[in-house]
């Protein structure tokens, strides 16, 4: 080999640093913590429940408000609300996650194949997506779940995912359409990769943030819808879930009895879980699109926060820069002092000029 090639000087290796949790957007962090707490409760809640949630006490003294034995009070027939919550969160989270996983799988499958293959398959799959998209989901769910003899949580999750995949599929199809014309796909074909391998190894890894956001959105949809359906009495009422708690509280006239501890905890739990998922979704959006990030606190110059809307403080004077007075000029500006003009002649005592202004 001829030696006309210029050797590249060695670059010191950069260690693969793990991203710190605190470096993620605030919304994503709060959302992740809320969702994380709910997932932990879903896993360990039933073991923490102090009472059997279905235990009843046949007295007239109930419902009882919060006390040291029953931290969240009891229902009209003496069931412990806290225990019902701890047991019920599992079912609700299970429906949400199961529907999310199935629906996201369907979205990726349909979206990527439709976008990548193009032509007749794209036309057909897009038609299917749009058809499912315009189906009125809630009435249809009411009809389907009312018709099914046994509406277990798994069945509910399955029906929800069958109706919940088209949003994600459309977004993923659009992204795939844009990715498949990129050079790296042509380059992978040059390498001799099979179509299957190009999809799995080259296209899908580039869509991970989109798929994650779609997953979170679908989980939120599934949780809200399943709670609503169970509240209407169309879901699984034989097991405890946040939805069935709301159903039984409504059934037991909790509002007329003034038993706020009966219906408020499950309602707030649903609201918090939904908020956590929404925040997580916004956070994922911000990760993928830095323009959405809040600019405040991003730039600190000389200890002061500069907002993008602030005018650029132009006090450009080579002497100031050379003598390290540039940042002091900024400080003077922040105190509402007239900027040091560049008309200051060379050799003038700039430092005293600034000080004099700042004092006066």
């Amino acid at each position: 080999m001829s030696t006309s090639v210029i050797p590249i000087t060695a670059v010191p290796p950069v260690g693969k640093s793990r991203r710190k949790f605190s470096s993620y957007p605030l919304k994503a962090r709060i959302g992740a913590i809320i969702v994380g707490v709910f997932v932990l409760l879903a896993i360990f809640g039933p073991y923490l429940a102090p009472f059997d949630p279905s235990a009843t006490k046949n007295t007239q003294a109930y419902p009882v408000g919060p006390n040291w034995t029953h931290l969240l009070g009891t229902t009209a027939i003496g069931g412990d609300v806290l225990s019902q919550m701890l047991v019920g969160i599992r079912a609700t989270v299970f429906v949400g996650l199961t529907a999310g996983v199935i629906a996201t799988f369907l979205s990726v499958l349909v979206g990527v194949s439709s976008g990548f293959l193009g032509g007749a398959s794209d036309e057909g799959l897009s038609l299917l997506t749009n058809a499912v998209l315009v189906l009125p989901a809630l009435p249809l769910l009411v009809v389907i779940l009312g018709y099914l003899p046994q509406a277990s949580n798994l069945v509910t999750a399955f029906v929800l995912s069958v109706l919940g995949w088209p949003w994600g599929a459309r977004v993923i199809r659009a992204q795939t359409l844009s990715l498949r014309r990129r050079d790296f796909v042509a380059a992978a074909r040059e390498t001799g990769e099979s179509t299957w391998r190009i999809i799995v190894s080259e296209i899908i890894p580039n869509e991970v943030s989109l798929i994650a956001a779609s997953f979170v959105g679908t989980v939120l949809y599934a949780i809200l819808t399943s709670v609503a359906l169970t509240f209407l009495g169309l879901g699984d009422l034989s097991n405890w879930s946040l939805g069935s708690m709301l159903y039984w509280s409504q059934n037991g006239n909790a509002i007329t009895l003034g038993a706020w501890w009966w219906y408020l905890p499950p309602g707030l739990a649903v609201a918090f879980l939904g908020m956590g998922l929404v925040l997580l979704n916004f956070g994922l959006d911000e990760l993928g699109n830095p323009r959405l990030r809040d600019a405040t606190g991003q730039h600190k110059i000389a200890g002061h926060v500069w907002r993008p809307a602030d005018p650029t403080p132009v006090v450009r004077d080579s002497d100031l820069v050379k003598r390290g007075l540039f940042t002091r000029g900024f400080a003077a500006l922040r105190q509402g002092v007239r900027p040091v003009r560049s008309s200051v002649a060379k050799g003038d005592d700039v430092e005293t000029t600034i000080k004099g202004n700042a004092d006066g």
């Binding site: 080999m1 670059v11 790296f184 042509a186 390498t191 001799g192 580039n206």
Partner: protein, 362 residues
């Protein structure tokens, strides 16, 4: 041939890859009823072992389409591609892979041609596994080290775990070149390999390609819009305008005494400090205009709307590509005005196929 990077002509080997009057049409309307864009029309070229052929032309001239057709990424509307004299059929996956073992392409934009989610190791490992049949982790690792050393990315162990965004444009293009030669091809199609790079590293990449051509005995197609860089690396230059070849010949002759008005325009628009301010030989100004239209409805010379010598004949009849007395082929009706020193030997159209312009009596 003054440049030391060029091969001496006797060293140029046999024809490896050959395009025989290949064309590519695009239908602009829905279905096949709308206007037809003939992006490439009737292009023939031969790539020789250790030889470099350059295609020069402006954006939209069809030069990249030629490369994509040769690479098998684009189907041919008509014509055929021959590898070692055998017509290439790429209908089946196995045939395509076998073809990729011989013919590889380097893309224009190194920021787009590497997948940002994969490391350098992944980009090199895949072609080695697919094409080379090298067994064992150690052997693959050694091969990747060899490839990175070939493209001067040393020490290799430093670059293998890097992601594309951690590399500079020049380093990325080196990785892209290493990936292309990982399949140990005999033909390398370089589609504007330096146009997206900083000026300061363009020469390095050109030198690298020239070195690889020498050491690996590659047949190379070099596509560019910069006729000066084509002169630097190529043995033969093909000038394309709106999908057609307007002039072809040995690199020195085409760049030093361009015959076709469009070639003259290209040469005069290259920032050459030795010839500042020079325009057409005749001093005539080129009519400023849009890039050439390649609509198939255009009869006559496609350069005629911008050409200072165009007359009725140019607008109605397509000029044939004919050999001239100074060893090249030009498609122009008014050669005697455009380039008085070049005289067309015949007015009969001559097939350009398998024409060995590199063979000169010496």
């Amino acid at each position: 041939m003054t440049e030391q990077t060029k091969t001496s002509e006797s060293a140029v080997g046999d024809v490896v890859l050959e395009a025989v009057s290949i064309s590519r049409d695009y239908y602009l309307g829905r279905g096949r009823s709308g206007p037809v864009l003939s992006a490439v029309r009737d292009v023939s070229l031969s790539l020789y072992r250790r030889g470099v052929v350059a295609i020069v032309g402006e954006s939209g001239s069809g030069k990249s389409t030629v490369a994509r057709m040769l690479a098998g990424q684009e189907t041919l509307t008509s014509g055929e591609v021959r590898l070692d004299g055998k017509v290439v059929h790429l209908k089946h996956r196995r045939a395509f892979r076998a073809y990729k073992r011989e013919v590889q392409m380097v893309f224009q934009d190194p920021f787009a041609s590497l997948n940002s989610v994969h490391t350098v190791r992944h980009h090199l490992e895949r072609p080695i596994k697919i094409h080379r049949g090298i067994q064992g982790k150690q052997a693959i690792e050694e091969e990747m080290y060899r490839l990175l050393t070939l493209v001067s990315m040393t020490p290799p162990e430093l670059f293998l775990p890097k992601y594309p965004h951690e590399l500079s444009g020049g380093q990325r293009q080196r990785v892209a070149i290493a990936r292309a030669i990982a399949a140990s091809p005999r033909v390398l199609l370089a589609d504007e390999p330096i146009s997206m790079l900083d000026v300061s590293i363009r020469l390095d990449i050109l030198r690298l390609l020239s070195d690889l051509r020498e050491t690996l005995e590659l047949a190379m197609l070099y596509i560019t819009h910069d006729i000066a860089s084509a002169r630097y690396v190529a043995d033969e230059i093909l000038v394309m305008y709106a999908g057609e070849i307007v002039e072809r010949g040995p690199a020195e002759e085409v760049t030093q005494s361009p015959a076709h008005p469009y070639t003259q325009l290209l040469v005069s628009s290259a920032p050459n400090p030795d010839a500042l301010g020079s325009s057409l030989k005749t001093g005539t100004k080129i009519v400023p205009g849009q890039a050439g239209s390649a609509l198939s409805s255009i009869v006559g010379c496609r350069f005629s709307p911008r050409c200072p010598f165009a007359d009725e004949q140019c607008r109605t009849t397509r000029p044939p590509i004919v050999p001239t007395n100074d060893g090249r082929l030009v498609a122009c009706w008014h050669l005697e005005q455009a380039a008085p020193s070049s005289v067309a030997l015949t007015t009969k159209p001559r097939t350009t196929r398998a024409k060995k312009v590199l063979e000169k009596p010496d």
